[in-house]
């Protein structure tokens, strides 16, 4: 009997232990299982009216989520990148945030943003082939995609039809095909003494350069580039790049643009176009000259024409394109839900501003900005010509040298010996890239 009781006790003890063990495993399983995140933050530099519109988009997405998840807006209207870096350093990285194209490579290199390539390719909603290729490249580094571009803003030539008519100069073709030589010749014909409505004489210029357009525009015009597509080779001092900078020097020496020291006197370069002091301006397709001019007094208004960028020495027209992308924090790299939310929000952004970075949506431009209707012949061409630089993690430093030591020097002194300076900057760029980890 005793032995039986003892066996029963042993069995009971084993049973208790087993129950405890199973309980413990189940408990551990329950607590260890990762619950899908339900609240996300989205950092934006939007402020004022833009922030209201942005918040309305997020509210719409939240409503459609029906409680499944919630996206909260984190507005950083000033010092965006300094504050963003501070959030990341404090391990409080926003789940989604806007990132300008120049920083995609840097943030990717430092592991702050998620590689979206596989999810992007596997998506049934938004796929890489929908994007304009030049726009998508801005979110790509080392062949991997790190962001979903939500806007495209390639350059085009805005011109003042009234000034062209007054000078008897034919309009440039709305569908492109003009060369840089033709562009410069047109600008020369428009550079002349003119009179304002009060009879005062002033110098009218054909074009304006003051650090804008950026230096890539001219380097590409020669068929060159700053960094090669592989993100390693420096092409800045190639023959083609030097020829492109030769075009810039020709413009600066020809007198078709106001002297650099004078540009600031009107505030900024676009004001020269708005005040009819220059006849042509290279601006993004998003620039709202039409709205500004419509608000001017009737006798100050003028008619705007549009043309694509001139064709460079490589036989192609290159329209520098600025794009912002929505990126995903690297801590959510494996979250399918987070990617899907980001995709959903990005699709809403396409309906918000011009121009949508995906093809087949040109018609929407007039819905968003009806006054751009007259540019509809030109805009699709510019979108197909859209191009961004081959951004690398060292881009900001290289670009800083390009501005301070080259572009600024050329603007201050049109006879500046740019060739030797380009070689020096190229050597610095090579040294910086060689130090990349």
């Amino acid at each position: 009997m005793r032995g039986g009781i003892s066996l029963k006790r042993k069995a009971a003890r084993r049973g208790i232990w087993l129950v405890l063990l199973v309980g413990l495993v189940l408990f551990a399983g329950c607590t260890g299982a990762k619950k899908e995140k339900t609240t996300y933050t989205f950092a934006t530099w939007a402020a004022g009216e833009e922030l209201k519109e942005f918040s309305a988009i997020i509210d719409k997405v939240n409503r459609e989520a029906a409680g499944q998840y919630q996206v909260e807006v984190l507005s950083i209207p000033s010092d965006y990148y300094v504050k963003l870096a501070t959030y990341i350093a404090a391990k409080k990285t926003p789940d989604f945030f806007w990132l300008t194209q120049e920083l995609i490579a840097k943030y990717a290199e430092l592991g702050a943003i998620a590689d979206l390539t596989e999810m992007f390719k596997g998506s049934q909603v938004l796929t890489p082939d929908q994007y304009y290729p030049g726009v998508l490249r801005s979110a790509t580094y080392n062949g991997r995609c790190y962001g979903l571009p939500w806007i495209a803003n390639p350059l085009m030539v805005y011109y003042n039809k009234d000034l062209f008519d007054a000078a008897g100069v034919p309009y440039p073709p709305a569908t492109g095909g003009w060369t840089w030589d033709e562009f410069i010749a047109t600008a020369k014909a428009l550079t002349r003494k003119a009179q304002d409505r009060h009879g005062n004489t002033y110098q009218q210029y054909g074009y304006i350069v003051d650090g804008w357009p950026n230096i890539e525009t001219f380097i590409w015009a020669g068929g060159g580039d700053i960094i090669a597509e592989n993100g390693v080779d420096v092409l800045l001092d190639s023959e083609e790049s030097l020829q492109g900078l030769g075009i810039l020097q020709k413009i600066l020496k020809s007198g078709i643009t106001p002297p650099y020291r004078e540009v600031g006197s009107l505030g900024s370069n676009n004001v020269w176009f708005e005040k009819q002091r220059v006849a042509m301006f290279m601006g993004g397709i998003q620039d709202n000259f039409e709205v500004k001019i419509a608000k001017m007094p009737a006798d100050e208004q003028f008619r705007i024409g549009y043309a694509p960028m001139p064709v460079g020495l490589d036989g192609k027209a290159h329209a520098f394109n600025w794009t912002a992308s929505t990126v995903l924090s690297s801590k959510l790299a494996k979250s399918k839900q987070a990617y899907e939310i980001m995709e959903k929000i990005t699709l809403e952004f396409f309906k918000w501003k011009i121009a949508s970075p995906i093809s087949g949506e040109v018609g929407r431009i007039v819905e968003i900005a009806p006054m751009k209707a007259a540019a509809l012949e030109t805009i699709p061409i510019c979108l197909n010509q859209a191009r961004s630089a081959n951004y690398v993690p060292e881009w900001n430093e290289i670009n800083h040298h390009l501005w301070l030591k080259l572009y600024n020097a050329m603007l201050n002194d049109p006879d500046f010996d740019y060739e030797s300076q380009v070689r020096a900057i190229a050597a610095e760029a090579r040294a910086l890239i060689a130090n990349r980890k």
């Binding site: 300094v82 840097k106 430092l110 600031g264 900001n396 430093e397 800083h400 301070l404 600024n408 201050n412």
Partner: protein, 286 residues
């Protein structure tokens, strides 16, 4: 509880704040200067590599030259200007308070606002300065657009804001015993002699203070330089260079090393000035 312990309790909040917000950041900065930290990535300890890289970087020397040149000229200019203004308004004429207020106003205006206003004043085409020069038939320079005129542009701004130290000089001038001037008058001393033998010696402690503060302020010049820049690298002051490294190039370790070098420079100069004090600061003579 002892009375002294109660005293410590009263200063405890400040001590805690000092440890958290001053001592800890200093120690952290020392460590960060020896890492390759980029703010948004992981930091690795790299010893003195940042310092070696800085001393091999021509831009560092250029920034140091721009700042040093500015400091050498701006510090005496601002001290002399403030002193002259203080001597000018150190009397009891009716309405002198208005002048004192006008002279002191630059020091209460935001640095950003000053920079923006000077952007217009120094505009080569429509700027106030060149317009005034044109009235006299002179052609003004391109100021911030001309590498040779960037430094003079910043010196003009420094002189404009020089009377920030006005009230310190005025207080010191009021502290000089009247009897000294009365005695000098009886001895037949003129205005210049009184300035030379009474006013200046009695002001030397304040001049010393303003010299030290001037060194610190000149080497830490940032706001207007960041906003206005200057042709090429002529507007890249040391602090602008440091800021660019930290927040444009994401090289926080490198920038922190730059901050330590700046600290050593300022400390060294302050020690030199402090050493010379016994030769020229009146109050310290025994």
């Amino acid at each position: 509880m002892k009375k002294s312990q109660i005293g410590f309790l009263f200063i405890l909040p400040w001590v805690i704040g000092f440890i958290i917000f001053t001592v800890f950041p200093i120690i952290a900065a020392l460590y960060i200067a020896m890492t390759d930290w980029s703010i948004i990535g992981q930091a690795s300890f790299i010893g003195f590599q940042n310092f070696r890289a800085i001393f091999a970087d021509p831009t560092f020397y250029k920034a140091l030259l721009v700042t040093g040149r500015y400091a050498i000229l701006a510090i005496p200019l601002t001290i002399i200007t403030a002193l002259l203004v203080a001597l000018g308004v150190n009397n009891d004429y009716k309405g002198i308070g208005i002048f004192r207020t006008i002279f002191y106003m630059p020091s209460i205006v935001s640095g950003v606002a000053v920079a923006i206003v000077f952007k217009w004043i120094l505009d080569p085409t429509y700027g106030v300065l060149n317009s005034l020069l044109r009235l006299f038939g002179l052609t003004g320079p391109d100021w911030l657009y001309d590498p040779a005129w960037v430094l003079p542009s910043y010196l003009i701004m420094a002189i404009w804001g020089a009377s920030g130290g006005l009230y310190i000089y005025l207080a010191a001038l009021r502290d000089i015993p009247r009897e000294l001037y009365e005695g000098a008058t009886i001895d037949g001393a003129g205005w210049l002699q009184k300035i030379r033998y009474i006013t200046l010696p009695m002001l030397t402690p304040i001049l010393f203070y303003n010299l030290v503060m001037g060194i610190i302020s000149a080497f830490r010049k940032f706001t207007d330089a960041y906003i206005l820049g200057g042709a090429g690298e002529e507007g890249v002051f040391y602090m602008v260079y440091l800021y660019q490294q930290a927040f444009s190039f994401y090289k926080m370790g490198y920038a922190t090393a730059l901050a330590w070098i700046l600290f050593v420079i300022i400390l060294g100069l302050t020690l030199v000035v402090n050493y010379t004090k016994k030769y020229w600061v009146y109050a310290e003579r025994k």
